[in-house]
Symmetry: C2
Subunit: 468 residues, 2 copies
Amino acid sequence: MRLFDETLEVLNLGLGTFADAIETAGGRAIRIEWAPPAAGDHAAGQALARLVNDARVEAANRTAFAAYLAAQPVLEGIAPAREAVPGMDGRRILHAGPPIAWAHMCGPMQGAIIGAILFEGWAADPGSAGHLAASGEVAFAPCHHHGAVGPMAGVISPSMPVWIVREATRGRRSFSNLNEGLGKVLRFGANGAEVIARLRWMAGPLCRVLDATLRQAGGIELKPLIAQALHMGDEVHNRNAAATSLLLRRLLPAMLQSTAGRDDITGAVTFIAGSDHFFLNLSMAACKAMLDAARDVPASSMVTAMARNGVAFGIQLSGTGDRWFTAPAPVVDGLFFPGYSTADAAPDLGDSAITETAGLGGFAMAAAPAIVNFVGGTPDDAIANSEAMGHITLGRNGGFTLPAMNFTGTPAGIDARLVADTRLLPVINTGIAHREAGIGQIGAGITHAPPDCFAQALVALAAALPDG
Amino acid sequence: MRLFDETLEVLNLGLGTFADAIETAGGRAIRIEWAPPAAGDHAAGQALARLVNDARVEAANRTAFAAYLAAQPVLEGIAPAREAVPGMDGRRILHAGPPIAWAHMCGPMQGAIIGAILFEGWAADPGSAGHLAASGEVAFAPCHHHGAVGPMAGVISPSMPVWIVREATRGRRSFSNLNEGLGKVLRFGANGAEVIARLRWMAGPLCRVLDATLRQAGGIELKPLIAQALHMGDEVHNRNAAATSLLLRRLLPAMLQSTAGRDDITGAVTFIAGSDHFFLNLSMAACKAMLDAARDVPASSMVTAMARNGVAFGIQLSGTGDRWFTAPAPVVDGLFFPGYSTADAAPDLGDSAITETAGLGGFAMAAAPAIVNFVGGTPDDAIANSEAMGHITLGRNGGFTLPAMNFTGTPAGIDARLVADTRLLPVINTGIAHREAGIGQIGAGITHAPPDCFAQALVALAAALPDG
């Protein structure tokens, strides 16, 4: 009973209200920030306890992270998806994010699929295209299931040209569609005549010019190009102004020396030079290639994909293969174009979070202070985001350095354990689509991967781990 | 005599050794940093006393700075210097920096002039070219005397093509030669067969393509392009990677739509795409245009030119017109290429300090953290340089914002009074030439304008000012 006679000196773990009471009563409390592991999710907490400091997980993560670092994505060519992408047969359309049935898709994704059906000529008008999509006679699959990635709706149909990126150390190929520019575009769900006409031109003259150019140029290593763009204010997700310019500059001599005709070249160059986002899809394919190199390492808690279909946000871990762990897609907090607000926005959408998964985009925001003009915040916030991501990643990518952080490598290799443990969520720079098809982009901003994905993934990873 | 009985409490102005003695003797001294105005230069100090807080100088500086801010340099065309540059008649060769006689020129400048004579066909070999140069039969004049600027040796001869930049608010034209790329080049004093052959190709096919392109494109505003490059890691003096890419991207559609032939276009594009420095000469011509707009405002202490000829460093003030104030050119402290050191370096050389005079280059270093890979230091030093230059400038240029400094405008409009008063010297990013002709660039680094130029300029400005 001496306790009540002595001056109270208390260490307060977690909730500060206990310390408040002690201090009010004249006692002294030292506050220690604490919260239950995995935010109190019992199963995830148990899984975390098993996975933290497990030597097998550490070793697996070293293997996966080393494979990611060693990967060398090389732009090899361009071809219709039907020819380039394995399994792209019959009436099959790929989309962004984890799997989702037609009936549950968000507006922009349904709009983009209707556009793809019109582009393929499988239906003559939007009404019949919608019926066809709902009939079950078109197969839908995530881009990720075919080694591909696509921004926003991420819709790829068999006749669309795709970039072919070869990961040089293992020979595996990744794919992405071509960027259509801004305004009324398929990836935001627009499917009017001008959109279909542009897609046909892209599948025709543009694809021909780029094919001839890449045949003339040989392979183009994408990592050095991305590294240079990071020194020129891009984070290669929402800002690709430098990377697009560098790509064009790299392609041009070969383009002019190629067999392509002058009119086609003029059209292609005018199109590419007119869009700061043209490089985005190549950035995504390169990131996909780097992360696919880190796949399928048993026991690894490294995240190999983050992707959104406008309804669900899904992640994959190296140690759990192709399994998705999903949670509702969040709404993006950002800067809206005049006349629009959060109420108009589709939830988070697109495979483009593959850039963040690879340590770029939001993770490399310190490289791109001017991005805040687009996604909001201040240049200091941009640096703070890159610094924060260092707490949930396996290491630094010395191939991608951040000048504003004294040329530190960008934080990369998200460890699902660290996300659950620190409750710091991966930050993602992204565009915002209108929730209805066809209206297009209405803003851009910053979002975070939902914590539930990581909790589920840890439970699955722990369950797959034999008792050690 | 009570002083000796009391505890000593002393305010110590300037030299700290007096305070040291007082403290050693047990007294207390508060140290106030102070130095004689104009570093003790009596005449300059007198001039400074007259010019500081003189309402006429303040008003004149507002006028000059406003004219600099309002200037709109537009790339208008390209033509041989003989046709474009006023007064470029007969056997006349322009060079960098303030006036200098042949016999006193540094090695790289003599080498470049010999090259220009060979290029013009005025002599058949370097020996006779040197004799011709020494004979007095070739007129030499600073580029600045003809509205022009040239990097390093800055040599412009009548048959060389020049960029023509028109300042849209006043219609005055500025000029610069074309950048030859790196390696053995005329501007570093090389004059071998490959150098002359390249100059002939530049005066022929390259000039033809660019002429056809600019006729097709119409005028190209250079300030928005520079502003964008500052958001992409350039300071548009020693780093022009983004600006060159943006320029190429801007020119290409017009180039392809122009009358230029495909082989010439391929050659031009390959050449431009191969050099990160191609934009430098346009940056310089744009800066010259902005500063010429601020010239000849009586009583203004704003610096309108800083230029070096490898022997002398010269400045001009708005209020003293075309008069040069010179001091020995400093040696550049920087990063040397392997095998070279300060002992091999020519003193500071070139008109390129016109970029710093316009608030770019070293003044905008905060925009270009990656420049430190080239000129030495850390990204924090780069920001510190931009911050320091804010103490010697008349204002900020809101058209050129610095992302790393939360989008503050770059400090611009050097006030010679503030330089003399604060003894903060204008910082200049620059290349370093070998002191002998023909060896070329041996490094790059940071230098400072010598204080004597500013002291002399203030004396002259004060002398020209009627008693107020």
